[in-house]
Subunit: 722 residues, 2 copies
């Protein structure tokens, strides 16, 4: 605590202090800088210009910010810039900050999201993200940011593949590959009017407000163009092992995980030529870059030291193997940006790694929905669609018993498509993707499903951010699942009390890449032969091109949770005869599948056509461009039935396949159903939603929709699963 | 951004600025204060002494900090102290900060934890929490902090019930009840050597580092003793409705959700007498306090305005109904502490309530384990047991195939006992508590369990912080569960990859309050009559007092997940005969229950004794002080078997009850079992753990333990559930 003297005395003390500071500012500062310059310490091409600002640290001491080696005899706190350095000027309250990130592939896309979450958590300014991406990352991140709807965040994409040719001539051994070099071309790739940008690696985590980093641009001299933190290892000193020949660098060199770029000055200085010349020259004697862009940045800086502004080391605390980062900070509170620049990532060894890991996990598992909070006080363009959504939500009547349903239906869920590495299936004209959705409590179905369905799958998972990480570990721990690159997992982030079953189905359906889809549910296991059989049937029946049809896969169920799966229709019929299997929902809701006509199916040798009837909800194979599911049905009830009504209204033929079958495994009832069973409101609401569904049906199909009216007015059985 | 001029020019500008500030400091400041004092604005008993500090805002303007009404014509940013006020001096880096909170009951205990999480998230200093609690809150919070093991946090408890008599004479209408008044007696209740403390209501959330708040103590004049934020409503103006007669206050008065208390000065000033005199006098004309301690604080301050130091309003942004808080902040970044002081809590209406709610949810759902991160840089006493734990963990061999098991066994899980309101059962000599453990995927068992077991239950739930909130909503939505006050739910927070089944059982067992416990599993439903029958049997058999026995409840299972539960032993035997029921694990592991001797049970009219045999794992009723479960068995396998071995080694008689039964319901296999099935390491490890278990057994029981050796060397069946 500060001393608490008498006010007058304090005023006098303050005056004295000010005069002291004043004296120091006029004389002491420049001297300090000279001393350092003459000291010629490695990696200190310029003086830290904190002394040129009106504020001065309370202890009157000034230090160079970026170097790891302190003055001899200085205490540990001496390296701690954030503790005793002058507070940097902050950008004006609502200034737009620009951030550029290069990102390619599925895994880096996940990393970027964690980085962005940490940045958004602390930010107080509007942000413009400039993402240089390959096609995979763009597909993921475009959808993610579109559905995330974070206020005061703008995102622009740049095609990394178009930039490849500019760096592909450089031999590079770094694990980040070709994309690791792409930061070099940002001055030409980013818009010409963009003058300042912060460039970040995908493996950094913010522990502070990015505007403090942005404020360091103000420390640049007239000629400096690149702000960098010193490299926190001895790599560039070239003494790590015998015959270690690193690229040239000033002393320890600089790390390029966090860069402040004055794009305007680099363009003026002829950056394009500059780095290419340097790289070409060095590559005459060196075989390849080891640390990608960083080697080239350092070589250029060695040649043009006036370009660089060293940044305080806390802005890029590097957890590489054998890191010297500990010399940089003395307390947890010093850390600003943490950089996981070891190939070991979270498994890196370090005195404080538990701290760093907990910090990283905070954002990895943080509910991204909570970052949708408005940056009020800074007027900004709302995200696309946000205003309409706000209006629609505002128009809902809180007294309406269906309020929760309608609110859930309007909820825009964050969607992270292809959460894990995924190989799209090769284009084949009759290929079929199995489409389903699930939440955490059905994960244990995945292995069996993979064994039963050797073809492509598109699965939507309804998870929290923390569950998504559990899911990741679950997949990694399973050799069966880890081996399958043709299963695409799309994470839809949880929000709201009701399970948005049809929204999930639509996400999985939209991401299917084959011409046909098998619309299944996660608790069904298809016949082992079904994938091959469906492709053959599609070809034989000329589905799609000649015929507009939905192929029905008859559904069965077992009530035993240990059960030997039939290998053929003959075996299945035998199990049916001894009561080990039933037709699906035989006991409590036979109407759902009665039109499939199981008696006929027993004998059938060829596909046969059946007629739609009320409450019919078969599992079907349809072309990918089939009608979407109606998202108004959330939680439980009528979600598949409505889809089959829509198919019938659009005149899809319903053709039952004689050799196809799928079997439902028992499971504990889901929480949504327990709720349905106990709540009359839930059921009344479902009726209201059905009425509205029929009104829409009539609007689209006219008098033809009359056919469905009686079916929509039947009471709903309380015992049916979604 | 700041202008980037030439260094020399900037130096000169800085000098000019300093001189200007200097002049202002000497003359302008006091004048400004005078002006304000004479203005006599409501609620401004003192001048904000920012001007007495050496640092001065860059724009040279000084303002009173706490009032809601700005200068006429001032822009919205003018109310924003954090934006343009002088940065307060920070406490020295490792200074210990003291925080006092009054907390009573189950619900407030949950609130306190969310408050503490937000505080810990931003804090950079060691903290000492002074918790004034009733017995319920103490029981919860003592265990919670003990198991949380947060570095650099000390917790002291004070008995609220002993303080009650000092405030119970005050008639009070506020919803916080008697405990709402207890802040008044803190100066005498807290240790005499404690001079400064921050006092917080349980319904505040931090959005900033508490050390910034602590630093405001330095602004106190020599006589000020209470730092408070102005009340952000017109309540004390007395014009809210006709005949509204609030307690006396200076202008809008002050809110006591956040208080900076100079305990030393209050004690010196005779606070004890002071507030009592004022309260007694006001109560001559006023019937009761409406806002608890706040009314009395305000009445005292009205009489002794020199005591109060007004604090910047952002340190207590009050979301009461009809709040005026919006006048306080202009941007999200201004907020420091948010105060949910409406009885509507999160449902309160407010322009920015979405923002506030998201902010609150951040900490509500935040994984508290992540706050265990070390405050490195500040040397502090490690939490009790932390050093031994670190040593034990450090001694583990990462190459040991059982590394994960041993690590999981050593994990100290945060435990929140009686997460929901709970009425302990009245003391009855033969009462039995059902003890079980579960995770999220078994929640839907709870309603049925409540219907089958009308007696007390003690259930351990293995959840994440976010899941604990889902669980809360699940209970609230169920009339069956919400009605049961005799079911105690203990949340054990998830950490690590393996399910700590025996640690969970031990938590539930330790919290059982009746003399006997029924050690069950969550997927079993007991006979409807079991609770009554067990109590009668315990009495008849003289269990505990005369006999050391474990009463065996025979276990059955159904493989159908729709099933009509038998109402009597006769009905059960009939179902068994038609194959609708089986004895438990009849198909895959009959050894687990064979010693129960089901054939004898069919005919039995009286309890009969059975002998222990290898792999026996019956469900038993035992005295509460029975041996604990062995926590080395985590994940799956041998967890109950080891417990029965221990009971037998301690010479418990095994008595089968002729009318008792419990039935296992089917469920999908848990993830832990899937993993066991696919992993030979898992099974090898289990054998290693069994060997070590036997070594310990031999140590305790000597040669008598030899009896169990063959049983421990049998291969484990892969298909058994935990």
């Amino acid at each position: 605590m500060l001393p608490r003297g008498r006010p007058r005395a304090l005023g006098a003390a303050a005056l004295l202090l000010l005069l002291l500071l004043l004296g120091f500012l006029l004389f002491g500062g420049d001297l300090g800088c000279e001393r350092r310059k003459r000291g010629g310490r490695a990696g200190a091409p310029g003086c830290f210009p904190g002394l040129l600002m009106p504020r001065v640290p309370p202890d009157g001491r000034l230090r160079r910010a970026a170097a790891l080696d302190g003055d001899p005899g200085a205490g540990p706190g001496d390296h701690n810039r954030s503790d005793c350095g002058p507070p940097p000027p902050r950008p004006s309250k609502c200034e737009l900050l620009h951030v550029a990130i290069v990102c390619a592939g599925h895994n880096s896309s996940r990393d970027v999201i964690t980085l962005v979450k940490s940045m958004l958590f602390y930010r107080k300014n509007p942000l413009h993200l400039h993402l240089v991406t390959d096609a995979v990352a763009r597909n993921i991140l475009e959808m993610l940011f579109h559905t995330w709807m974070v206020p005061a965040v703008r995102v622009s994409f740049y095609n990394a593949d178009e930039l490849k040719s500019q760096v592909s001539w450089i031999p590079n051994k770094h694990y980040s590959g070709l994309y690791g070099l792409m930061k070099l071309v940002l001055p030409s790739a980013l818009p010409a009017e963009l003058a300042h940008v912060i460039v970040l690696d995908t493996d950094v985590t913010f522990a502070s407000d990015i505007s403090e980093l942005w404020a360091l641009f103000a420390h640049f001299s007239d000629t400096q163009a690149i702000g960098l933190v010193e490299n926190q290892s001895d790599w560039y000193l070239g003494n790590l092992w015998k015959n270690h020949r690193p690229w040239p660098a000033l002393g320890r060199g600089f790390n390029t995980g966090v860069i402040l770029l004055r794009l305007d000055r680099l363009r003026q200085a002829g950056w394009e030529q500059m780095w290419r010349l340097t790289a070409r020259r060095e590559l005459l004697t060196l075989p390849a870059t080891s640390l990608a862009d960083q080697d080239i940045f350092n070589a250029v800086i060695k040649e043009h030291p006036g370009l660089v502004q060293p940044l305080p080391c806390v802005w890029n605390v590097q957890l590489s193997d054998h890191t010297l980062a500990e010399r940089c900070y003395s307390a947890a509170s010093d850390l600003k940006v943490i950089h996981w620049n070891s190939p070991k990532k979270l498994q890196v060894k370090n005195k404080h790694v538990e701290f760093f890991r907990n910090f990283y996990l905070t954002f990895l598992e943080y509910d991204g929905n909570l970052l949708r909070r408005e940056l009020f006080g800074c007027p900004s363009q709302p995200p696309p669609g946000a205003e309409q959504l706000q209006q629609a939500l505002a128009q809902l009547d809180e007294e309406d018993p269906c309020f929760e349903f309608r609110q859930q239906q309007l909820t825009v869920h964050r969607v992270h498509v292809t959460f894990l590495p995924h190989e799209p299936p090769p284009p084949r004209p009759h290929d079929v993707t199995l489409v389903a959705q699930l939440s955490m409590d059905r994960l244990q179905m995945l292995e069996a499903l993979c064994r039963h369905w050797p073809g492509p799958m598109s699965l939507a998972l309804y998870l929290t951010d923390a569950e998504a990480q559990q899911f990741l570990r679950f997949i990694e721990a399973s050799p069966v699942l880890a081996a399958r690159q043709d299963v695409a997992y799309h994470v839809v982030y949880r929000e709201g009390p009701l399970y948005p079953v049809n929204q999930l189905r639509n996400v999985a359906l939209a991401q299917a890449l084959t011409p046909y889809v098998f619309l299944s549910d996660i608790d069904f296991l298809p016949a082992y032969s079904l994938y091959d059989y469906l492709r053959a049937s599609i070809e034989q029946l000329g589905l799609g091109s000649q015929r507009k049809a939905a192929l029905v896969v008859p559904a069965f169920e077992t009530l035993h949770y240990r059960f030997s799966f039939p290998h053929s229709k003959v075996e299945l019929l035998a199990l049916l005869d001894v009561g080990a299997l039933y037709t699906f929902r035989y006991h409590e809701w036979p109407r759902g599948h009665a039109p499939t006509d199981y008696a006929r199916w027993r004998e059938a040798q060829a596909p046969y056509r059946v007629q739609w009837a009320a409450d019919y909800e078969p599992y079907v194979v349809v072309p990918r461009d089939c009608p979407r599911y109606d998202p108004r049905f959330v939680g439980f009830g009528w979600n598949k039935v409505a889809h089959i009504v829509e198919l019938d209204a659009q005149e899809y033929e319903l053709l039952v396949l004689p050799e196809a079958f799928t079997i439902h495994l028992p499971h504990a009832p889901s929480l949504d159903i327990s709720r349905f069973r106990s709540s009359p409101t839930y059921r009344d609401c479902l009726q209201a939603l059905k009425d509205e569904f029929h009104q829409d049906l009539s609007r689209h199909h006219g008098a033809a929709a009359l056919k469905y009216l009686p079916a929509l007015q039947q009471p709903q059985s309380p015992a049916r699963d979604g």
